[in-house]
Symmetry: D3
Subunit: 64 residues, 6 copies
């Protein structure tokens, strides 16, 4: 019954890439801890560049 929450910056992640993250994370939990994939949740959250800070600044600011 694992629950995985992945937060990434919101910059054009495709549905195929999301699918890859879901598949890979689930497989990792199955392979490492023998978890049941049917009760393994993976939730992806895409965060606006203005809302993610690192090193005192938003990612938006840092990229300027």
């Amino acid at each position: 019954m694992p629950y995985v929450n992945i937060k990434i910056t919101d910059e054009g992640v495709t549905d195929a890439q999301k699918q890859q993250l879901i598949r890979g994370t689930t497989k990792l939990l199955v392979d490492t801890l023998n978890k049941n994939p049917e009760t393994t949740f993976v939730i992806i959250e895409e965060v606006n560049l203005n809302n993610w800070g690192i090193g005192y600044h938003s990612v938006k600011e840092r990229r300027k």
Copy 2:
């Protein structure tokens, strides 16, 4: 002072339903643990079907 975070798939949940989730959760905390409703937070997050995975696939994929 409980904090409750409810994540559900984003598929047309109405404001009335959200209100029902907020009222029901708060009442449960008050009835079970005698918590103060005025400092009981309930935050509902609606997650895109492409961003929620279960059983190796996104909900979007599974419904195809």
Copy 3:
């Protein structure tokens, strides 16, 4: 497939009370949104009184 995270202060919550929170929250999701209980997760986190702040102070401090 809802996911619910309940954070409460750590002060002697019994297993019976936890069970009541789990049952009540799951029933609420089933009744309100017709969710499947077999893929409804409820995770309870108990937080130390020194680690929960409200109104500028930890709960521990406020109770002194």
Copy 4:
């Protein structure tokens, strides 16, 4: 390596205010615990007024 998640109601928070939250939180972690700002994450989440409940009602309802 701290990780900070700030949830606030979604009501016109400006990028300058977000920047202020990021800078202030990071500085607090550096000053209090001597953390490295380059591995200090601050993630701001803005929550719809219908999705945030307190005192049995959504913030939207309470403001009516």
Copy 5:
């Protein structure tokens, strides 16, 4: 700068298994989205069996 939070039931996960989860998740983010591993956080939370509910019951209850 991804942030990944993995919640699993607390039942004797070894440090080697945790290391495997950290390595695998980080590699997945690098391979799929070209993220920088030096700013990829993976946080594992182990949840008591009485505190994790599914299908109306705690995992502890279900295993009886």
Copy 6:
């Protein structure tokens, strides 16, 4: 009604330091967004060094 969750590594953070984090975060929300401190939650979570990964390794491993 802000909610702030601070995750840090578990390495002897004192109650005085926790109190400083709570006070500083609350003040920041009050000063920046004019929030009510009485409904501002700050929750600090201390994470075991084996459970926090960065750069492919747990913090525990990296410090060896």
